[in-house]
């Protein structure tokens, strides 16, 4: 009896260590369900996943960046820039403030491709500077953050671009049930997962973050791969812009401010290490869910908004502390 009990606690401890953050997520879900049965309803679960989708998609790109020992502060601004340009091409012909007054209705694919392309290009530019001039990623992407935001403002003159009827399809549901943002998110997860785990590019990402000099000597074209890494992060920001436009039906040049921090936090909560070489797509997903569940829970529990901030900070810290225990030395 006693020994069975000990084995059980040992087992729980072991699991807790190995899957720290999943356990945190699980406990949050159980706790919230008990406190507020509405929490576990299908609509609410869909809400949470939809809410996670935008910064969650960004977190996928950031996972590549952070594993390679970099950082990307520009994804929020890239979303805004890619978003407003795409939006200007997706306005319905009857829009009140039409950006291109003579533009007819374009096929939905065009604004989507434009958003992806802008994201990819902005990311590639940051990557280019990081690779070729060796400036710190922090500076290159901080610069890109300001520049892309500036372009979004210039392009729109500070005003939102709205009436994106065609794009709101993306904010809708399949068979009236599953929200499309969730499907897009799922697709991005699968794509990122395969890229990171089953391609040379993915292995190179780990190698560059693990030891760039050794990677170079092992024949990895570090510069080229760095450019690709930031381009991918930009691409994900562009995809997030599409989902954003679809959900909101309007894109504001000030959109997605500070999303970079949320996305980086999601990645880090999921166990991706800023010292490079360590991280998983799965972790980025769980990390994004932890944040989304937490915010959803705050509202359901009716916690005072000022106290939410304090609690949010504390929960992030505690979640990562629990997760860290899996790396703890045993001795």
């Amino acid at each position: 009896m006693v020994s069975a009990g000990i084995i059980k606690t040992e087992w729980v401890k072991e699991k807790l260590k190995k899957y720290g953050i999943v356990v945190v997520l699980f406990l949050m879900i159980v706790g919230l369900t008990l406190a507020e049965p509405n929490f576990i309803r299908r609509t609410n679960i869909f809400n949470i996943l939809t809410q996670a989708s935008i910064f969650g998609i960004m977190a996928l790109g950031l996972t590549f960046v952070i594993i390679s020992k970099g950082i990307d502060l520009s994804v929020g601004s890239i979303l805004a820039f890619a978003g407003v340009v795409a939006a200007s091409l997706a306005q319905s012909p009857l829009a009140t403030n039409k950006y291109y007054p003579n533009l007819g209705e374009l096929p939905l694919l065009i604004p989507i491709l434009v958003a992806l392309l802008i994201g990819l290009s902005c990311g590639a530019v940051s990557g280019f500077f990081i690779a070729k001039t060796k400036i710190p990623a922090f500076i290159a992407t901080l610069g890109m953050m300001t520049i892309a935001r500036g372009f979004a403002l210039i392009y729109t003159n500070g005003r939102p671009i709205s009436n994106l009827e065609s794009m709101t399809v993306i904010g809708g549901r399949v068979f009236g049930v599953i929200p499309i943002p969730i499907l897009v998110y799922a697709g991005a997860i699968v794509l990122s997962w395969v890229l990171l785990n089953n391609t040379k590019f993915g292995k190179n990402v780990y190698a560059i973050g693990g030891n760039a000099t050794a990677a170079e000597v092992s024949g990895v074209d570090v510069d080229k791969n760095l450019i690709m890494i930031y381009a991918y992060s930009g691409l994900m920001a562009g995809l997030a812009a599409v989902v954003f436009a679809g959900r909101v039906g309007s894109v504001h040049p000030g959109a997605a401010q500070m999303y970079e921090l949320t996305a980086i936090a999601a990645t880090t909560i999921g166990g991706t290490s800023h010292s490079g070489g360590i991280g998983t797509i799965w972790g980025a997903f769980v990390g994004a869910l932890v944040l989304a569940v937490m915010r959803n829970g705050f509202t359901l529990l009716g916690i005072d908004a000022y106290w939410q901030q304090v609690t949010e900070g504390a929960i992030i810290i505690v979640a990562v502390i629990i997760d860290m225990r899996k790396n703890a030395r045993k001795d």
């Binding site: 024949g219 990895v220 001795d331």
Partner: protein
């Protein structure tokens, strides 16, 4: 010996890591004024034991008694205060800081305002450097020193603590003869002052040269302690490996084919000039020389890591342009670099990853995606064939012993199946048993018609393995000699110091 007369006693120490029992009930006794060798294969637990003694890790159980007192608190600071200092096997210095700041880190001299007294620090550093005969400005940054000099400074630092017990974990792996002799002079002087030294090395001749007693471990267990002079080489190897190692340099003769690689008048702006040589299929070309001769830079330039100033490289008689390691790898070359830590391992990543990263092209499936199964099958195969001691392939390589890390790197490059393989100090830090194993693999590759170019500072290794030997001195190729049985170490040294003419004259 009785407990009172021993400076250090280790009694029944056990150290567990997740999935690894690194030390299993080991003991050790070190007397005052003794130079005590620790021997054992890679992963036997030598470094782990001395780390416990120096307070870097705490043993899982067992006692460590120093000066008759049980050590209970394991922190480096406490160990230093007690009088135990250490030269670390795998530790790099704080490279961006100066020599003097590295030496006095954690115990900076202060002036009467409690601020760091840079003048005193400078003066004291000069004294320390004088002792090891190193002419460097104490303000020089560590990153501007060669590996050998950095290592000498680590040695000087450990000595400057004025400790009762100094632990040296493979202090000579980055040194050549001149510095090694310097080190031995210091070590003997310390012994004469009544200090004790724990000395770890895989180089048997060093053990016989300066140690008084030897303790041997195998797989984390204690095998025995003997007076060095009473212990024949074969017996020592047998104690370590558990069997006899028949041949250290199992060079199998094989047919030598046509010229594979030709280097013509290759020069680098700073490191070497006008080097020409050829290497044939099935040939092992050794490169010998003193530290700073430019051997590393020569092969790294051929490999595209450094930019050449002039000269041409030909493969199979055709000129090739190699401006990055990627080009070199495309041309079917591979390079095992000299510095394991900075350009070799990916410390946070798994053993499997570290082995396979240079060969990913081999593991694609039909849709051009990597197959995890293929990767693990191949790495498992190599893990077995060169005896990498690791609980599994998922283990982070940083948790492997130094020698085992080196084995993984050797595996990485053998796996690429290169036509031309450059090896820079391939068996640094590798135990005798495995050394033979790696030498056998190298020979085998040569037997398959591959071209091997091997830089080594161990003359017996160069002479045991090579078909021909290129000798360098201060950036100049002073000679290329056939490795005939009548070639002597002295002849090679004469080339290496460029005193050949005086010698023969």
């Amino acid at each position: 010996m009785s407990a009172e007369s021993n400076l250090l006693e280790v009694i029944g120490v056990v150290k567990k890591f997740p999935g690894v029992l690194a030390l299993n009930n080991v003991s050790l006794e070190v007397a005052p004024g003794e130079i005590h060798a620790l021997m054992g294969e890679n992963g036997a637990g030598k470094s782990t034991l001395v780390k416990c003694i120096a307070g870097i890790q705490a043993p899982t159980s067992g006692r460590i008694v120093f000066k008759g007192e049980d050590i209970t608190e394991f922190t480096p600071k406490k160990a230093l205060d007690r009088g135990i200092s250490m030269i670390h096997q795998e530790l790099s210095p704080v490279v961006h800081r100066s020599i003097m700041e590295n030496i006095w880190l954690g115990r900076e001299p202060l002036n009467r305002f409690g601020l760091v007294d840079h003048k005193a620090m400078y003066r004291k550093t000069q004294e320390v450097l004088a002792e090891i005969d190193l002419q460097e400005d104490p303000r020089t940054l560590m990153e501007n020193l060669s590996v050998a000099k950095m290592q000498m400074i680590e040695i000087a630092k450990a000595v400057s603590y004025d400790a009762k017990l100094i632990i040296m974990d493979e202090p000579t792996s980055a040194l050549t003869d001149k510095e090694i002799q310097q080190l031995f002079r210091i070590v003997r002087a310390l012994r004469d002052k009544g200090k004790s030294i724990i000395y770890i090395s895989h180089k048997l001749e060093e053990i016989y040269e300066i140690t008084d007693r030897v303790t041997v471990y195998r797989d984390g267990t204690y095998i025995g302690t003997e007076r060095t002079l009473d212990l024949p080489v074969q017996k020592m190897i047998n104690m370590m490996v558990g069997r006899d190692v028949d041949e250290l340099f199992p060079k199998t003769p094989c047919p030598i084919g046509e010229v594979k690689l030709e280097v013509r008048n290759l020069s680098h702006a700073r490191f070497f000039r006008d080097v020409s040589f050829t290497a044939r299929r099935g040939e092992i070309l050794g490169i010998a020389g003193l530290v700073g001769a430019g051997r590393t830079e020569l092969i790294q330039t051929i490999f595209g890591i450094y930019k050449k100033a002039s000269g041409t490289i030909l493969i199979d008689g055709k000129e090739v342009e190699i401006s990055s390691p990627k080009d070199a790898i495309k041309a079917n070359m591979a390079l095992l670099t000299e510095d394991r830590r900075t350009s070799g391992i990916f410390p946070m990543l798994s053993v499997g990853f570290n082995m396979t990263i240079a060969s990913m092209g081999q593991f694609m499936n039909r849709v051009k995606l990597l197959s995890g199964r293929k990767i693990s099958r191949k790495s498992e195969e190599y893990r077995k064939s060169i005896h990498v001691k690791t609980p599994n392939l998922e283990q982070k390589i940083m948790f492997l012993s130094g020698g085992n890390q080196q084995k993984v790197l050797v595996a990485r490059w053998l796996m690429t199946q290169p036509d031309i393989l450059f090896l820079d100090e391939p068996t640094r830090g590798i135990d005798v048993g495995t050394k033979a194993e790696i030498h056998r693999l190298i020979s085998e590759l040569a037997g398959q018609g591959k071209t091997i170019i091997m830089v080594s500072s161990e003359l017996p290794e160069v002479m045991g393995m090579s078909d021909r030997i290129l000798v360098m001195c201060k950036g100049v190729a002073t000679g290329i000699v056939e490795n005939t049985p009548d070639l002597t170490q002295d002849t090679l040294m004469a080339y290496a110091t460029n005193t050949m003419n005086q010698e023969t004259a």
